[in-house]
């Protein structure tokens, strides 16, 4: 390849993906050894907080199961309240991970390698959190297996024309595929940990987990192919999952839900929220685990840009929703849409727009893309905004339905709040545990993109 000889101007050159001297060897020393060291005090404190919040959530889940979902604020006509808001919220958070690991992989965005593993792990934990909600929302979670089409003595089958059933398939497929993708990527890293591990139990656990991976080239050959295929499949999947989630709404006839823009609008929102969450957690990881050389300022900068782009798309989607409502000349749609901003829950509508469209515009400024404070403020705003967006879609649309006689203001109970909080507890507990026992950076993938990692002979042959 002669193109190498041509020097590109500075600003067109690909930026360095790591800072300082990073070699395969010291990468392993830096990343893989966390599992073998005693965690710092802060980790224990964090873990104590998150796990107690999680326990609170668990207790309230138990309470809900024992007494029934009457302990929530859901009543006629708002039967889809916190449970579904939280479900959509968490599934959305998950999307960033798959986007980073699959779509950016296909686009050969090599900066993804440093943050892919963490984002994938967050996907899995987020989908775990998401999975709880439809489960408890069915009221008798121990009968949730009724959702699956299996031959039964009741001689009934589920309705395959219902988006709710599509959802069951989409989310369970998404979870298993993400898990597989994550695990496959982890495999060589775990193999490396196995060889670094001291102590019998640890070694045995990592040995089993990596399935005896030995780095043979014939294995890499299939592995790379599998990874590429998985990335391609996961790309389609990630776009489909939130589309299917949006069908739960769009296929129904409730004004404010029945809109063709919903699938792309939901996918965008999901990526948006997910990136904000990843950005927030990455900042913490980068600081506490001392990874400034691997997760560089450049990474944070690109992530911020993605958030900015998504925010603009969200703004477009909101405008489009308003336009559709106006252009439809449908008085129910008019009333619902004006309700978003001047109804009983007017502040949620404005909060959504402010947090999702206005505040992220700060990322136009380089200063904001480089300062932790701004990044965290904006990411928090996005997370809040996206939660409230789902609140607006679900609660505000439902509480004024076609029949004025049944209009009713929805009020969540303490149990509702507690379970939401508990899901955050679960998420961060999992994140902390993950950071403890598995590599937070895809070392194998990083090694492959370090300077000089690939033989030059091949390059000149091409």
């Amino acid at each position: 390849m002669k193109a190498d000889a041509v020097r590109l101007p500075e600003e067109l050159q690909a930026p360095a993906l790591t800072a300082g001297l990073v070699t395969s060897g010291n990468l392993d020393d830096q990343v893989l050894t966390f599992a073998f060291k005693k965690p710092p005090r802060a980790w224990y404190i964090g873990f104590a907080i998150t796990s107690s919040v999680m326990t609170l959530g668990l207790v309230l889940l138990g309470y809900t199961a024992a007494v029934g979902i009457g302990v929530w604020g859901n009543t006629n006509p708002v039967f889809w309240a916190f449970a579904i808001i939280n479900f959509v919220f968490w599934v959305g958070i998950g999307h960033a991970g798959t986007l980073i690991s699959a779509i950016l992989f296909l686009f050969r965005k090599r900066w993804r390698n440093a943050i892919a593993r963490f984002a994938e792990a967050m996907t899995i934990f987020a989908v775990m959190c998401a999975g709880i909600f439809p489960l408890i929302h069915v009221g008798r979670p121990w009968l949730a297996y009724f959702l699956f089409p299996y031959p039964n003595q009741r001689a009934v089958w589920p309705n395959f024309r219902s988006p709710l059933l599509w959802d069951v398939f989409a989310v369970s497929t998404y979870f298993s595929v993400s898990l597989l993708f994550w695990y496959l990527g982890l495999l060589p890293d775990i193999a490396s940990m196995r060889d670094r591990a001291t102590g019998k139990v640890r070694k045995a656990v990592y040995s089993v987990l990596c399935l005896g991976w030995r780095g043979a080239n014939s294995h890499w050959n299939h592995f790379e192919k599998a990874y590429l295929l998985l990335a391609g499949l996961a790309t389609g999947l990630v776009l489909s999952v939130h589309s299917v989630v949006s069908f739960d709404f769009a296929v129904s006839l409730v004004p404010g839900w029945h809109m063709t823009i919903f699938p792309p609008y939901f996918v965008t929102g999901a990526i948006f929220a997910g990136f904000a969450m990843v950005l927030m957690v990455l900042i913490v990881v980068r600081e506490t685990m001392d990874m400034k050389n691997l997760i560089t300022d450049y990474h944070l900068d690109v992530m911020s840009r993605v958030i900015l782009a998504m925010s603009c798309l969200m703004g477009y989607a909101y405008l489009m929703e308003g336009f559709t409502a106006w252009y439809s000349m449908n008085q129910f749609l008019h009333s619902i849409f004006t309700n978003y901003f001047i109804g009983a829950y007017w502040w949620t509508g404005w909060l959504t727009v402010a947090c999702n469209v206005l505040i992220p515009q700060l990322f136009w400024f380089k200063k904001c893309r480089q300062s932790y404070v701004w990044m965290i403020v904006i990411a928090l705003a996005v997370t809040t905004g996206m939660w409230f967006e789902r609140f607006v879609i679900i609660v505000v649309s439902l509480h004024h339905d076609f029949l004025p006689a049944s209009w009713h203001l929805y009020k969540p109970t303490l149990v509702d709040y507690g379970i939401l909080l508990g899901s955050f507890g679960l998420f961060f507990t999992m994140v902390l545990l993950f950071a403890r026992v598995l590599p937070v950076i895809a070392t194998t993938e990083m090694k492959g993109i370090l300077p000089g990692a690939q033989p030059h002979a091949v390059k000149s042959e091409e």
Binding site: S24, V208, R214, H219, N221, V244, A453
Partner: protein
């Protein structure tokens, strides 16, 4: 192929510092033709498969086939269930219409394809998990998974010779070089140990699964499942705890009057004669009366109110001929009484007709009576417009 015994030489592995060095060495070592040459690297190195002469991965084809199979499976499954075995008509779609099956087809396609790609790669193509591989028990492995590039000549066929293999690797520049023998299966890290622990886990799963199965079977209605059975409700012939007196149904509060049943204030049809129709005769009232009459009275008293029912002869009673002199002279109040209280074979219509409707019916009845017994002077003063035949009974002076 005979099973290698522990202690046999598996091969010789040499380590290189960089991918470039490894690449350069491969062709030299392969030329020596001593055995199977395999590279062990910490990450996938591009171009090695070509240099080592390894075939392209057949995974793409496998995934393709399984993906198509997934789509077909999902389609046929849904089509059979929704169209044939348990047809549900939703949204007015034909039970076998396929469009709604697409989302699940897509998901199942992806599921089949990804699991083929992932698990097919691991278990089928790479033959993992395999914990007993000699390389895993060599010293070199911890350098290989870290940052060194291993090149191994593995004993295969008669040409293999340990000394020659060591020499070949040495001249290609490998440092250090290690002769690997098939590991002895003892100690905690061996394949057998791991296999045994996996078996242990499998047994534990089976036992706990079986225990759960029986627990659920034997105690199906523990709380909270049993909460479904303890809902507060009225059971027939059983006392209820809802009220103090043990009855589920309670008598209304004394003096309660049901809607539309305000007391008439009179106690017999004779007394009812004094009631006065509160409605004025208007087009609207007559129209309401007509509707009420058509809905409730016409079947028995006939459209002309002459007591000729539109019912078959199976209806035994004889509805009154309301055109008879007696009823033309009947006070409104007595008709009202008959509607509210019923009369012999005629049931009460109080439940069906509101206060206003009852009086409106009476006005209409009067109109019918008048229409059947019209006198020549009745139409004096009524102006006829062309084509206005309708509603003329209302325009009586």
């Amino acid at each position: 192929m005979t099973q290698p015994k522990s202690g046999d030489t598996f091969g010789v592995v040499g380590l290189f510092e960089s991918a470039d060095a490894l690449m350069a060495a491969i062709s030299k070592v392969r030329e020596a033709g001593l055995g199977k040459v395999e590279a062990y690297t910490p990450y996938p190195v591009h171009g090695l498969d070509k240099a080592l002469g390894q075939r392209r991965s057949p995974l793409g084809g496998m995934v393709m086939i399984m993906g198509v199979l997934g789509a077909l499976t999902a389609f046929l499954f849904q089509w059979w269930i929704s169209g044939i075995d348990y047809p549900i008509v939703t949204g007015g779609k034909a039970p076998t219409s396929w469009q709604a099956f697409v989302p699940i087809m897509f998901e199942v396609t992806v599921l089949f394809a990804t699991f083929t790609a992932g698990l097919g790669m691991l278990f089928f193509l790479n033959k993992l998990p395999f914990f007993g591989h000699p390389v895993l028990h060599a010293k070199a492995i911890s350098a290989i998974t870290r940052d060194r590039f291993g090149l191994a000549i593995e004993a295969e066929g008669d040409a293999f010779d340990v000394a020659a293999a060591v020499r070949a690797l040495e001249s290609a520049g490998a440092r250090p070089i290690e002769v690997i023998s098939v590991p002895s299966f003892s100690g905690p890290m061996t394949a057998r140990y791991l296999e045994r622990s996996l078996l242990g886990i499998a047994i534990a799963c089976a036992v706990s699964g079986y225990a759960t199965y029986w627990a659920v079977k034997l105690f199906p209605v523990l709380p909270p499942t049993s909460h479904m059975l303890v809902q507060p409700r009225l059971d027939p012939q059983k006392p209820s705890a809802f009220f103090k007196d043990g009855h589920g149904m309670q008598l209304p509060v004394p003096g309660t009057v049901a809607r539309g049943y305000l007391p008439l204030g009179v106690t017999s049809q004779e007394e009812a004669a004094t009631l006065v129709n509160p409605l004025a005769v208007t087009q609207k009232v007559l129209e309401e009366g007509r509707q009420a009459y058509m809905n409730h009275c016409v079947v028995c008293h006939g459209p002309l109110a002459n007591g000729v029912p539109t019912l078959t002869s199976a209806y035994g009673a004889k509805p009154a001929n309301l055109q008879a002199q007696q009823f033309r002279e009947y006070p409104d109040g007595k008709i009202y009484w008959a509607i509210v209280m019923g009369k012999n074979a005629m049931p009460s219509y109080a439940a069906d007709l509101s206060e206003d409707d009852r009086w409106a019916v009476i006005h209409y009845l009067r109109a019918l009576q008048r229409a059947q017994n019209a006198k020549p002077g009745d139409l004096a003063g009524v102006k006829f417009e062309a084509g206005s035949g309708q509603g003329s009974e209302g325009k009586a002076p």
